[in-house]
Amino acid sequence: MKKSLVVLAAMVMVFAMVSGAYAAAQQSNTVTVNATISGVCSFSTGTSTITFPAIDPSDTGEKTAATAGLTYKCTNGTTPASLTNLAGSHTLASTATPADTMVYTLTSSALTAGTGFAAAGTAITITAHIADTVYQVAPAHADYTGTVVLTFAY
């Protein structure tokens, strides 16, 4: 009987000491979590195409053709500032006769704020323009082509 009591007393002491040790080492720490949502925009596709209907060089007036189905997404509330490489003159060249070229320009529909990447994309229309003074003197070819890399700036 005595032995048993001694063991219990020892256990109580051990628990008390261990408990005391925890109480003595306990501290608090405040963790601050910061996050940034980047304002980004991206096109729905990495490539898009504008194909002009066959141009009659005896016509008058500017010829235009536009993209179809091109969209982009932006972070909710982010509006692309501009499309780089859109402005200025661009060149179409005949694949078979590269010296034969036509100058054209590009315009885009208005850039509006995105609604997030879970939402449907925002439609954007890129329109190519060829002046009559250009195509009226252009050599006849079926293979005029050119590429422009359009980049969102935001």
Binding site: Q27, V31, T36, S38, G39, V40, C41, S42, F43, T45, G46, T47, S48, T49, I50, T51, F52, A54, I55, D56, P57, S58, A65, T67, L70, Y72, H90, L92, D100, M102, Y104, L106, I126, A128, I130, T133, Y135, Q136, V137, A138, P139, A140, H141, A142, D143, Y144, T145, G146, T147, V148, V149, L150, T151, F152, A153
Partner: protein
């Protein structure tokens, strides 16, 4: 030591999360490569109808060939660089879709309306061909090119022609390109 390591671990974890987020959404740019294709048709159009003075006066006493210039040259516009030929047919002669050159097309004939058996042979000339073989080159639809048409009656044919005031022929020009 334990606490120190714990904060290091949190810092490393945070850095990795942040780094991953930037890699997934790189700020700055998004590209699309826009390809633009176009075709310009090869095309020719009559810009000015050609005509000759009426009547052409053929002098049967002429010792030299008679050359008659048009009152209005035939003018054609074609897409820049388009090579084309001009085919000539004579309503009263045998020429049918003959290529018109600076050397001229034979088989042309003036015929008297009152005496259809009386004819005068002539040559129809297109002096504006680029190479003497009947090839013309377009300079764009806004730049008309003259075919340089003319009529030549050989002195020998003029000298043997019967006198009539009603010789005529209808010439059809066809642009082929």
């Amino acid at each position: 030591v334990k606490k120190y390591l714990w904060f290091i671990a949190v810092f490393v974890a945070t850095s990795m999360i942040t780094g991953t987020a930037f890699a997934a959404t790189p700020s700055g740019f998004s590209n699309t490569t826009l390809t633009v294709n176009a075709e310009v048709l090869g095309m020719c159009k009559e810009y000015q109808h050609g005509s000759f003075p009426s009547p052409l006066t053929i002098d049967p006493l002429s010792a030299t060939d008679l050359n008659f210039l048009p009152s209005a040259d035939e003018l054609v516009t074609c897409a820049n660089g388009t090579v084309y030929t001009v085919k000539v047919s004579s309503a009263n002669g045998t020429a049918l879709d003959q290529t018109c050159t600076s050397g001229g097309v034979s088989g042309m004939s003036l015929k008297s309306a009152s005496w259809p058996s009386d004819t005068v042979a002539y040559t129809f000339i297109c002096a504006g061909d680029t190479d003497g073989a009947g090839h013309f080159t377009g300079a764009g639809l806004i730049t008309a090119k003259a075919l340089g048409i003319s009529i030549r009656v050989l002195a020998a044919n003029a000298q043997t022609a019967l006198a009539h005031a009603d010789y005529s022929d209808t010439v059809t020009l066809t642009i082929s390109y």
